[in-house]
Symmetry: C2
Subunit: 199 residues, 2 copies
């Protein structure tokens, strides 16, 4: 009774976060009402994400045909100061602050249990070899820019221990962040304070 296109749409889209079957159904009918060009745009915007890749140096996203992400390839940014962030969106929030001129390592979403996954361990290893090969074995500063949560604290301790001989200074974001607060949701001023009060 329902066209297979709608069924397929609801089937696929209801698996996304934020959307249940009811929302996906309403979205389908909303899209059917909108003009054909914007529907095409949305579909293309989605498939265009396939053109993106991960930077092999900091693990942020990059264009498929670029060697590195725009941050790693920006020669004005200092490679000796490295901020370790959890998520890409954290990096983006950090960049909105327009204060940090170093580089990054995107660690990847931390598990509830606070244990580092294999990919996360591999990314930290990558940072170690980056410090060894590019910075003669010592960074000027590693800023552990993880959330001010229990898991963030726990992971920070691990990272601090792992990198204690690989950086002159290891800092965390100042506790200007409210306890339990997440980087992604911090307003720019709060983030700026926490950046300046890092310890």
């Amino acid at each position: 009774m329902i066209p297979k296109e709608i069924k397929k749409f609801v089937d696929y889209f209801s698996k996304l976060p934020l959307l249940g079957p009811r929302q996906a159904t309403r979205l389908a009918f909303y899209l059917l009402e909108s003009d054909k060009s914007s529907l095409k745009n949305l579909s293309e915007a989605m498939s265009d994400l396939l053109k993106l890749d991960r930077c092999a140096r900091c693990f942020f996203i990059k264009e498929e045909n670029e060697k590195l992400c725009p941050i790693c390839s920006d020669e004005k940014r200092s490679p000796t100061v490295i901020a370790i962030v959890e998520k890409e969106t954290d990096l983006m929030t950090f960049e909105k602050m327009s204060k940090f001129k170093g580089q990054y390592l995107v660690l990847g979403k931390l598990a509830e249990k606070g244990i580092l996954e294999q990919t996360q361990k591999a990314r930290l290893e990558k940072l170690k070899s980056r410090i060894k090969s590019e910075l003669g074995g010592s960074a000027d500063e590693i800023i552990i820019a993880l959330n001010a949560t229990a898991i963030g604290d726990f992971t920070s301790d691990i990272i601090r221990e792992e990198f204690k001989n690989l950086s002159k200074k290891i800092t965390r974001l100042g506790r200007g962040l409210p306890t339990g607060g997440e980087v992604e949701f911090a307003d720019e001023t709060t983030l700026l304070h926490s950046f300046e009060k890092r310890y």
Copy 2:
């Protein structure tokens, strides 16, 4: 700094209902984490909606290459009983009931002010000529299956007046306590209806 694909995605998707810029950004990164085939599926499911069209008889959706929607072309369904629904999703809820074996007219989303739009007037005219040409000028029953709201009531009155000479019977959906509803928590109007329609 942010790849243009992400910007475009956020730009387009944050205009959809349910999604703001933050949700669209998170969705983008969620999709970047998922495998490429499911991303392709989603994009295709979206562009496949372009293959859909509107049934010229009842205004429900139909496959582009089909003449009518599956309901209008189902010969087992009676063309003499017609349910007028507001939205496609209302029709779908009606169908889930598996009780109604008549046909439909989808009126289109009613405006807040309760005034019928040109397209809605045109759809009602289409139903009139359908009754005249197919049913010899009189349907057996028109069920006005609009919401039990002020706008639904108002629109029902208009439709009842418009079709008074074109159907043996014109009904609305029954009013009363919803299943599981408690008298104590029923609003006065609901209770009044349930009292008047007691059986």
